[in-house]
């Protein structure tokens, strides 16, 4: 009888543990592909060495909308020609600026089209509340793309928005985010 009991319990536990390990460790590796930014943008060089502020590149427009990632128009002021010795800067100048081609930056928190996220409504929050602290990184973090949904692993889920809204007393009505 005891033998029969171990025949049941032990395999159950093995299956349980194996499943949990695979589910938490293996599943994400299968689900997400890893991507790097088209150009290794060194924030540290710009922020510390050139004393640039976040708003110099990530600015609000006159109408309050958020410009998001900078375009070549922002960068050519300095990078019309190669300035330093960073090979990625040289590649940016030759492959993008000179070819009049925009860099397809990967947005870590890009929301679906059915969500209207207003940056100016959240301007009191620190950027790093939602975004990785890239200002202190010389190499942008790896971008994990969900193979099924196509979104970044770091794209905020609706429950996270709702939780913050609830805690801060902001409305959670549908039309606040879904226009």
């Amino acid at each position: 009888m005891a033998k029969c009991k171990s025949c049941v319990v032990l395999p159950f536990l093995v299956g349980l543990v194996a499943s949990i390990v695979l589910g938490w460790w293996g599943f994400p590796k299968v689900l997400y592909s890893q991507k790097t930014q088209p150009i290794r943008f060194d924030h540290v060089v710009h922020v510390e060495d050139q004393a640039m502020a976040c708003e110099d590149c990530h600015a609000f427009r006159e109408d309050g909308s958020y410009a998001g990632m900078p375009t070549n128009a922002n960068c050519v002021g300095c990078h019309e020609d190669v300035q330093g010795e960073d090979p990625d800067e040289a590649r940016y100048v030759t492959e993008y600026v000179q070819q009049e081609k925009e860099v397809e930056w990967l947005g870590y928190q890009k929301q679906p089209d059915n969500v209207y996220f207003s940056h100016i409504a959240h301007k009191e929050l620190d950027c790093t509340t939602c975004h990785p602290d890239v200002a202190n990184m010389s190499t942008p973090p790896v971008y994990y793309e969900n193979r099924l949904s196509g979104y970044s692993k770091d794209t905020m889920k609706m429950w996270q928005c709702e939780e913050c809204h609830a805690k801060s007393g902001a409305s959670n009505a549908c039309f606040v985010c879904h226009k």
Partner: protein, 686 residues
Amino acid sequence: MGLDRRSFISLVAGGVTGSLFTPVIWKTLDDVSIWTQNWSWIPRLNYGEELKVPALCKLGSDAYGITVKTVAGRPVVAEGNPDHPLSLGGICPLGAASVHLLYSPSRVKNPKLKDGSSFKDITWDEAEELLVGKIKEAGASVAMISGDETGSVTDVLSGLVGKAGSDKSFLMPGESAPAVAALAMLGGDGKVGYDIENANYVLMLGADALGSWGNVARNGKAFSASREKGVKFVYVGPAQNGTSAVADSWIPCLPGTEPVLALGLAAVIADKGRDRSFWPGFAAFAKFVQTSYPLDKVAEITGVPAATIAGLALELMRAGRPLVLTAAVAGQGLGAFELAAGMSLNMLLGQINTVGGVRILPWAPKVVEAAADTKTLLASDLVAYLSAVADGGAEAPALLMVYGANPAYALPNLAKVQAAMDKAGFVVSFSSFMDETAAMADLIMPDSYAFERLDDAYSPYGSGQPNYTVAAAVIKPVFDTRPTGDVLLAVAAKAELDLGFESFEDVVKAKAEALGADFDELVGGAAWISEEFPVQDLALWQTPLQELVAPISDGKSLALAPALQLKIGSAKIAIPPFNTNAIRFNEMLGTDMYVLINAATAKNLGLKKDDVVKLASAGGECKARVRIFEGVMNDTVVAPMGFGHTAWDAFSRGKGDNVYKLLAADTEAQTGLSRFATARVTVTKA
């Protein structure tokens, strides 16, 4: 220890249980649901800076300034331009659909050459070389048709034709030509405008001013402002429409008899109004209208009770600044003498070249020396010319060039128009869309769409003051198209016909300079406006007075009242895909359009709701279904214009029938010009 059946089941059970404590199932379910929202055919938003860019809309009955909202440089929606004098923030149904037409399936995406019954794609170099060769071959046997009377591209095209030695430059018919001719009968010389904003009584004789006539957006704003000012708007027409629905009153009047009503009103005003015997021409005019148009006779012809006519005349006389707008219900085809009948009312009321009245606007400056001036273009009768070509009375042109117009669809005597085009040696269409004319053409050199090129407009018909608008391109051409103005200048240069300009921008700059306007400010969206009106000596009538030929009821046929609704399209544009949802259940059943008759007329004809009928006139036949509508006069049938396209795209092709087929032009006795505002039609079960 082997893995027996029991152990295996236990292992699997453990695995399944464990998976419930991992994200595998829950995350997969969530991601699959998101995956279904992101299939490749689902449109995606294009994020970027939102701007409002000034632009021009020429799709409807007039040209006026609008704004185009762009996101990341891509047009997304058109809106009225509050700063433009002909928009004042308003927009017409075609303007509202204008951005979507950029990507219309009927856009001609590149130059095309007729190859048997279809087209083959060619390059721009090949197309230009071909046209240069045809111009050289044709010599002076060249003609042009333009649907844009306000823009300088027409000047360039007319200049090319003129430089080749031909005077065959024509505009598509509209309200402007008869209005200018009517003004000339009173001794005036210039474009015709209406100061509708400052009038304190507006009588719309057939003019669907709030739906499709004149500066529609501006008219609507003036009407809106008039509500607080107590200005009365009276609509006279054969059937209820959008204008009659909101006007202070609607006076039913048989189709095509509005000019008779005008002369009847003139007779009353000449009799009862203040003494005008010292006016040049007044005595002869008063005698003519009082003899030829007594109240009873006018009431019989028009169907308007005599008491109503007398009351209307009284209201006009009492109003301080009355304004009479005379037009065909369909927005074209009225004879010049007929329009002059309405214009004479303004004259009698002292409302020409004054605040709140008819305004005489100076002609546009001529910058392309070889081009026909606007006055000459408006006096050239396209309908008569094409009919003569078809009948053999005029030589068919070796080269016919068509810009901004669709004559193969939107002219009376349609069979003759198509025959004339068949007779032409070589037809070139500059259409942005595969319209009926482009489909018949030998060569299509697609014009860049309105928002993809520089364009201008000088004082569209009806403007209250001289104005000039220039709009730069909002977006680079979406397809392999080129601005016709520049193509024509390049072709002219290759054909050694020097028009004096290297680029179309230079033409527009020259026009701006001639007007004293700043080109850069114009491109920035500020329309040039002038308050200078030419002072002219007018006499009540300058031409021999003859009675109007009023439509006569024969007891068998009905009077046709063509109805133009911009949501369905215009003479230039077919139903925009965006507007198909605006066509209501009572306007179309399946692919059949409805024509409207009232119950009494239906009973006389033995017809009932939804019957399929054939409408036949001297011009041709149309198929439709019957809808009973009591907002139509007896013995009158209202037929919608804009349906019955045979080219374009699936959104407009094969829907309803083309009412232009029913319109047969005749020659106005007083002026010798074509008129085709209405027709007599028989309506029988199909």
